[in-house]
């Protein structure tokens, strides 16, 4: 089995590693880089819990090899909040809307929403809800997540739609 040296930017920091050809990006992130917020729910691309962004796009980290991320910028749920701990708007929106219960699927949902609403991206509520078809949540019945999607699309995160703190 071939081994490969990779360089990537993970949550804003440069990282070098040696990986086996068969190591998935998800396993690399969890086991090697310590990003255990990347959750493996199915390992065949159905549940969406392992979703991260690669060069700004939401992708399944279980359906990508670590060696394929060579030279890429990868962001996981650990890279969302500001260094001072301030929540990213998608985290704030999910918290306010009670968009999570057990929290296992949540990191993946957050990364999809972050890819679609961060920077120049301005996804509509419909686009966010449509992208949710790529995530399975067994707790919430999705209604809290839909409210979070609406708040993100309408720019009302932190405007009292959910719990005050």
């Amino acid at each position: 089995m071939s081994k490969h040296a990779i360089d990537l930017t993970l949550n804003g920091q440069r990282r070098s590693a040696g990986v086996e050809a068969r190591t998935s990006l998800a396993d690399y992130l969890r086991l090697d880089a310590g990003c255990t917020g990347v959750h493996l729910g199915c390992e065949h691309g159905v549940c969406g819990a392992c979703t991260v962004t690669v060069d700004g796009r939401a992708v399944r980290s279980c359906l990508m090899l670590a060696v394929q991320a060579d030279g890429c910028a990868v962001t996981t749920v650990e890279g969302l909040a500001a260094p001072d701990g301030t929540f990213h708007p998608v985290q704030q929106a999910m918290r306010e809307a009670h968009g999570l219960q057990c929290g296992f699927c949540t990191p993946g949902v957050l990364m999809t929403f972050a890819a679609l609403t961060g920077g120049e991206a301005r996804a509509s509520e419909e686009e966010l809800v449509s992208a949710m078809s790529g995530h399975v949540c067994r707790c919430t019945g999705y209604q809290g997540i839909r409210r979070a999607a609406r708040a993100l699309a309408e720019g009302t995160v932190g405007a009292g739609a959910g719990a005050a703190e």
Binding site: M1, S2, H4, E20, A21, R22, S24, D27, E43, H44, G45, G48, T51, R57, A58, V59, R60, C62, L63, M64, L65, V67, Q68, T112, L116, S130, A131, S133, G134
Partner: protein
Amino acid sequence: MKPAPFDYERPASIAEACRILSEAGGGATVLAGGQTLMPLLNLRMSQPFILVDIGRIAALQGVSRGGDGTRIGAMTRQADALADPLLAAHLPALVTALGHVGHHQTRNRGTVGGSVALGEPAAEMPAAAVALGAMLELTSVRGTRKVPADGFYIGPYMTALEPDELLTAVTYPDWPEGHLVLFREVARRPGDFALVGMVGAAVVEEGIVTRAGLAWFGMGPTPIRMRQLEAALVGAALAGLDAHALAALGVADSAPFDDHHASAEYRRTVGRRILARSLREAFALKETA
């Protein structure tokens, strides 16, 4: 669910990729977007000796226009194709079908060529290639040959692609501006493989259908072109079309099967309904336009 061991190669050119495939003598598998291959690897249902990642070959990327239509490089990501202005202008049926391929997250990795080459019978891309009359470009160290999509598919995941060949591009012929788009699928959930689906295009000139290309997916071991329906449509006057009878003709060319998702009878019944509805909508739109 971890893959069996394999070697990984990342060629920088088509020639290099073909050389690796040739030397591997059937022991190599091409990794394009990986959205179907990676699950098969994780489940150990596929255990290649060498994985050939064609993701960094620049010549396989992008959409271009030429004398024979619109050419899509095999590694063009489904998400990029979905947002491509050339495809939106020239191949609206393909774009509509692309919107139903997998999920937003898998379209960010999945490729047009990977889906076409794989030949999943319930997938949108192979059926769209068949319906729209696409030509596939297959390259190996022996040279490049062009194979029509209609005829490329032999059975589930079985195609005319030789073990040493690489699908390098898919070229879709032009359909005239204003042509009609027909697309419908029924799936358990958005992003699931279709239980039944159909895709195609048609051209109407002065009340007469002058061209039609339609194909089923999820209705047999391969994507299936609706030859009888196409023959009945071409030359027919819109005023005389009977959507119900035409849909029955479309179903006559299908070969659905029973599986744990749906029965063959269900597929035929639903197939006839969605085809009739698509025909009614497409041709009525033209009438009222």
